[in-house]
Symmetry: C2
Subunit: 335 residues, 2 copies
Amino acid sequence: MKRKLFDTIVGGILGLVLGLGWSSPTLAQGDPLPSWNDTPTKQAIVGFVARVTKPGPDFVAPAERIATFDNDGTLWVEQPMYVQLAFALDRVKAMAPLHPEWAYTEPYQSVLEGDIKALAKIDERDLVQLIMVTHAGMTTDEFSKIVTSWLGTARDQRFKRPYTELVYQPMLELLSYLRVNGFKTFIVSGGGVEFMRPWTEKVYGVPPEQVIGSSIKTKFEMRDGIPTLFRLPEVNFIDDKAGKPIGINEAIGYRPIAAFGNSDGDLEMLQWTTISSGVRFGAIVHHTDAEREYAYDRQSHFGHLDVALDAAAINRWTVIDMKKDWKVIFPFETR
Amino acid sequence: MKRKLFDTIVGGILGLVLGLGWSSPTLAQGDPLPSWNDTPTKQAIVGFVARVTKPGPDFVAPAERIATFDNDGTLWVEQPMYVQLAFALDRVKAMAPLHPEWAYTEPYQSVLEGDIKALAKIDERDLVQLIMVTHAGMTTDEFSKIVTSWLGTARDQRFKRPYTELVYQPMLELLSYLRVNGFKTFIVSGGGVEFMRPWTEKVYGVPPEQVIGSSIKTKFEMRDGIPTLFRLPEVNFIDDKAGKPIGINEAIGYRPIAAFGNSDGDLEMLQWTTISSGVRFGAIVHHTDAEREYAYDRQSHFGHLDVALDAAAINRWTVIDMKKDWKVIFPFETR
């Protein structure tokens, strides 16, 4: 009996370790951040994680190890335009046959004619209009299917790959490294929350309930006895700039101890995370590699990084130099 | 070397099992729901959990094992009034010296005079006004401290105990039982999210990011270089009735497979959860025990249960009869 019980326990434990992918930092072999060069940036990350996870004055309980990540330009490519904008433009083209008036109505006309110059100057009001027309007017389930279907076929023009492959390998390793060390990793993006959720778990290992983003209003209705959530053409919440700490507070409750961004839209999230008591970590991904990805900051329309770059120096946030700090940019380079 | 590695692994595993409180349903000894009588209700709960966790056609992956719980009247007492209303009334009294005009202005006058009859008839507009005055005008950190401090001293009139002890022991066991079986347990309450978060982890084992509730708007500001979230007297979201599936969708993304409520405010959450493909579980806590707690349903002002009780029969939701199904009501009865 005892022998049998022992076998059951050992079997159960092995199943847990092997089958459920449990891994411990103490057992992990090799470098958990192999795509990061051995620079002060990597040392700062590893040093921070060591300080808050080891017993001592800076120890943080696992429940409060919250790390937040911007998405566009921090976890995946945001040039030559936000992926969600590319989605909206493709949706306009797909929906155009039902809207003949779009042929002579802006901003649709520029979209349909592929007028890149006009599109580059698109203002926020036109952007919101494009988002509403293409993102509202269906149930949440239907929208999720549209996003998944589009991501399955759409390809980035430069890299000729699905957008979900244009994610940063070093950041994937960082997400995983933090989770292995007891962190909960959240995405906090100006992008639409329902545009991200269909794929963030598969691509980043971040489940839907840990994705915070912008949203439009929804309406609950019983339709022929079937409960539905219908997407309305009305802004509910913009999760950008000062909206990020608000979104974090609404969705998480705890204040993060680490935050990663790449643009002025992340300034307030970084302030909220780092200007507080206790050990905190703030970092900005600086796009410095025109050859392997893109190089941009203060002059860029998408991923505009100006005030937050100055604030990084003042607040001692780590600036991740993509060219110097990253051995590879994309997962497909490692295969 | 091999021996040493083996010791390290076994040590690590034992540490995991013993130190981190890991427990497996297969190793668990005894009844996980000891405060539940062995009635069809308990059998329905255990049967549902078995179906969705065992390999087979009804298996649900752990990531999608989402269970949502209403709070007032489902996890803790809501009579003779919502705890949060008791909090608001106490706050009015505490703040009254700074507001002399309240002595002759409704609804404050009734509060200060302890006019129970007038308070029982309080309408939604007055309730919102009382909530705004007592819940806004401070930072989120300050509000959290006010709530924690109040819960430390306030006592329920009938049971002479802190409100956080007036939680239902069978529901605590149910929350724990579901989590041991891989479920994520969420609170989805009409109550204020920032009123619940300071204590839900300690009392229910539900961390702040798994608490969904009503909220007021907040404003992010840098005050003398310090980032603050200031609470504004403006409704942001009412997480009740049709708001519950909306709140669930916004915060979780996944649709729950199990939902527990006790009033008409939970109708739409139960519909959204159960009227769908796959095995689902909906349950209503029916307050039938005037002796040990309270007995109320269709006529009650707080926790009004009428349409949802009829819907339970139609949709085959389990009705939990507190008198018949629960051996004990409160944790202090078991000590």
